[in-house]
Amino acid sequence: MANTTSVQYEPVAEIGGGAYGTVYKARDIESGQFVALKSVRVQTDQNGLPISTVREVALLRRLEQFDHPNVVRLMDVCATQRSDQETKVTLVFEHVDQDLKTYLERAPAPGLSPDCIKDLMRQLLCGLAFLHSNRVMHRDLKPENILVTSQGQVKLADFGLARIYSCHMALTPVVVTLWYRPPEVLLQSSYATPVDIWSTGCIFAEMFRRKPLFCGESEVDQLGKIFEVIGLPPEDEWPTDITLSRKNFPPLMPRPIADVVSEINEQGGKLLLNMLTFDPLKRISALNALEHPYFHDDETLTQTKS
């Protein structure tokens, strides 16, 4: 059993550390196709593989049945025993060469066209709406795990992995970027699917700016940078279940969004503000975002309709 994955998949290169451990690019010997191998070491006790791992991987496999165009394919899963206390779970994903980060870097001088950004955003939100309606949240959405194929197809990667990897994460403290984190996570309050919408908003802005929106160096610094743009939230919106006081931040007013993201059009700006809403309950959902007028005032769309 232990050898089946290494026999079927021939490693080609190490493609990055990733927050959750080493990821390898490999070749499927049968099909010749490239795959991304992600391994997790799970602590196993005398009762075998933990329930959380069994359920989370089963959920990813279930999502796979829908064959959603904006979600990366999970082609295979394998569990192999490392020792009495440890089992290695290998997830075999389809391999896409390019992520949104490199896609943005490679874009020629004036940056991406407004239509291109709209298309990427629509696909990104489609994938997200699909995950959210299946009760999966990403929790770590950023340009590095949004893949863009050579045909311009957006595919979300690394979703739902946080719970599978949680055992492993406790062992290896990893530096996870703070830039796409929503206030509720930075404030260590409770959070749910709106976290991904915040991250999507940050990425939306970054597509126009071609540099990240909020580049904080610590949790507090990140919050400060956020409030410089959206303003300090009112007292009644400040979460009550946290230790950090609102008084630690200067009373800032919101800045006009066009000052921060200059090329964005009016509707785009409105959508962006709906995504960068401090209160997660008031933040727009992925499904509603897809219905936003920003996606409707599209010339090409009206042409195809008529």
Partner: protein
């Protein structure tokens, strides 16, 4: 074969214990089974229509607006049916607690209807050394273990589904079949239950024929063989959904649940869709019980059975298999389900006289 001894021991220990009390049942009135003719729609739909209107949901009104030229015409009524069914399915899913948000209900229903076809096995073939009889003994034993553990019913259906799939994807010797069965139940419990048994406890139940190490190795083998595909829409969910749409009585539901569980023991039932198994169990249950009919009940039943339009022959075939299984269930070595459903909590359905009359039952299911 000696290695399967504990399986036998366990089965014998749980033999036909008399946990049932005699039930007084009316002499069953046998009527020939016929699938409801399509025509019935015309008579019955207005009944549902009026009740839905009073429900205050916008769905029916909306459809009425789409077809403004007379609800009297047959054409409009037929066009109305899908939205009625949709409304009923949504209400039922919500009432059964199978969904949290009604706006997703229809999507959820379409999703389970679609995914069941992906989970279907292409044929009923079993590995050579694994006969239908062996399979029935193993499933019967799993039903007993499942009951003893007080697991959810979904866990049992998932376990048997995992067993059926595993037998196709991994090679297991006859000596390890019991271990495979237990691992499938264990994995199903990991997927569905909040409280898990200890592996050592499972080994004890198998008379320590296998070690804990062997059990955990089999667990990895099954997970890899199935590629962690542990999701399944159990026929039981379709049964409670159909029964709710059809406004079936508690007794009819228990009878159908009994018949549906009997299908787990039948190797030939492997090829049928969960929704077909559920529909057949419910249909046969109604035939056995012969409860008094009401116009509302008949209309509701019509609506529920519209899910099977096009697969009536398959449903009849399943009813035939289930009727035969129910008629002989008490005399089989594999009678765990018969005993389970003879309890007062299950309204003694397995002891119902209507089930014993095999010739009448088979007569009506040609």
């Amino acid at each position: 074969d000696e290695r399967r001894a504990p399986l036998r021991t366990w089965a014998n220990a749980c033999g036909p214990i008399d946990r049932w009390q005699p039930v007084e049942v009316d002499e069953p009135r046998m009527a020939p089974v016929k699938m409801e003719p399509e025509r019935k729609w015309v008579h019955n739909c207005p009944v549902i229509l009026s009740s839905s209107h009073s429900g205050g949901d916008g769905c029916v009104e909306q459809t009425a607006l789409l077809y403004p030229h007379g609800l009297q015409s047959l054409h409009s009524l037929q066009a109305l049916v899908p939205s009625l069914l949709r409304l009923e399915v949504e209400k039922s899913l919500e009432a059964l607690g199978l969904i949290w948000d009604r706006s997703y209900a229809w999507d959820v229903f379409l999703d389970i209807m679609r995914t069941q076809t992906r989970n279907m096995l292409p044929n009923a073939d079993l590995p050579q050394h694994f006969t239908d009889a062996t399979r029935a003994v193993l499933v019967n034993w799993l039903i007993q273990v499942h009951e003893m553990m007080h697991f959810q019913d979904e866990t049992l259906y998932l376990a048997i589904h995992l067993l059926n799939c595993s037998l196709r994807h991994i090679k297991v010797t006859t000596a390890n079949l019991q271990l495979l069965g237990m691992v499938c139940l264990f994995l199903a419990a990991k997927k569905e239950e909040s409280l898990l048994p200890e592996v050592s406890g499972l080994c004890y139940l198998m008379d320590h024929t296998y070690t804990k190490h062997q059990l955990l190795r089999m667990e990895r083998k099954v997970l890899c063989g199935l590629k962690f595909n542990l999701s399944y829409s159990p026929p039981l969910h379709f049964l409670v959904l159909l029964a709710s749409v059809a406004r079936c009585s508690a007794k009819a539901v228990w009878m159908a649940r009994y018949l549906l569980e009997l299908s787990l023991l039948e190797g030939q039932c492997l090829v049928f869709l969960p929704v077909q198994l559920a529909g057949a169990a419910l249909c046969l249950s109604r035939q056995v019980l012969q409860e008094p009919q009401t116009p509302e009940g008949e209309a509701a039943w019509c609506l529920a059975s519209s899910i099977h339009v096009g697969s009536e022959t398959v449903v009849l075939r399943i009813m035939h298999i289930l009727a035969k299984a129910a008629a002989t269930a008490h005399a089989q070595e594999t009678c765990a389900t018969f005993i389970k459903f003879s309890s007062p909590e299950t309204l003694h359905v397995s002891r119902h006289l209507g089930l014993k009359n095999i010739s009448a039952l088979l007569g009506v299911c040609p």
